[in-house]
């Protein structure tokens, strides 16, 4: 069970709506099982060069190469590495931990895609070396725009397992 202030959930939904049809992305931080803050991170995918797309693999890479740069950000995200590093520094300064990542699925359910799982496993291979805790992967789905769905997962051994999230009132 993870506890997330209702205001942060609303902010993540607002973030997803502001960027739609592009996917949004960000970082969650806090302590133990309680999220205390979210950091909006820029999805730089639409401004990545053709060569940089090779950061993706397989079917996702082929899909991205078929689309225009603007359309690419509708089906994927790439966090800005500098903003991610700045957020991690701010998180440490507050004695918080990086608890997880969030992103939106504009047209599909709040379930990790194969790309989400592949890249989560990529991160998993570095995580322990950098002394970071196992992250939660939270997805905001705008598939049904009037009723956004938010779900959270642990991704281990290439399997996504849903984790309950409990909204709490801000303290």
């Amino acid at each position: 069970m993870f506890y997330i202030p209702s205001g942060l959930i609303q902010d993540m939904i607002a973030h997803a709506r502001e960027l739609a049809p592009h996917e949004c992305c960000g970082i969650l931080a806090g302590t133990n099982q309680t999220v205390a803050e979210n950091y909006r991170i820029t999805n730089i995918l639409a401004t990545m060069s053709e060569q940089e797309l090779s950061r993706f693999e397989g079917a996702k890479l082929s899909d991205l190469q078929r689309l225009s740069p603007e359309e690419r950000a509708d089906i994927a995200f790439q966090m800005d590495a500098r903003e991610m590093a700045m957020a991690q520094r701010a998180i440490r300064a507050k004695d918080h931990e990086l608890l997880g990542f969030y992103h939106s699925h504009t047209f599909s359910p709040a379930r990790p895609s194969q790309t989400d799982i592949t890249i989560a496993m990529e991160f998993e291979s570095y995580r322990t070396k950098l002394n970071l805790p196992a992250p939660l992967h939270l997805i905001v789905s705008l598939e049904h725009p009037d009723t956004p769905d938010i779900r959270a997962y642990r991704i281990m051994d290439s399997q996504a397992t849903e984790v309950s999230i409990q909204p709490i009132s801000a303290s």
């Binding site: 090779s54 995200f77 966090m79 500098r82 047209f107 990529e122 070396k129």
Partner: protein, 91 residues
């Protein structure tokens, strides 16, 4: 020699190895020598101006080089360099 961790998407360029040993006294030297040992890999990490691409973080031990002295960050025996793409994903 410095241990350099290679991210998954670049491992085809290091013969599948997730770690390589590279000589160098700074991150810049490591990137240069990594590029000589594994042609093409430096261009995947750095742009045409030689700057680290916007989706890649480089860590020395557990610290991002942006908070050290960037590519000029000095290295000593026993340090570890990790090249890590920022989180991505998609539907």
């Amino acid at each position: 020699m410095i241990k350099v961790r290679i991210p998954t998407p670049l491992r085809p360029m290091t013969g599948g190895k997730n770690e390589v040993e590279i000589a160098g006294n700074s991150v810049a030297e490591i990137l240069e020598n990594l590029g000589s040992a594994h042609p093409g890999i430096k261009e995947r990490i750095c742009d045409d101006e030689g700057e680290v691409r916007r989706f890649i973080n480089i860590y020395v031990n557990e610290e991002d080089i942006r908070f050290l002295t960037g590519k000029e960050t000095p290295l000593k025996e026993g340090d570890e360099v990790s090249i890590i793409p920022a989180i991505a994903g998609g539907r």
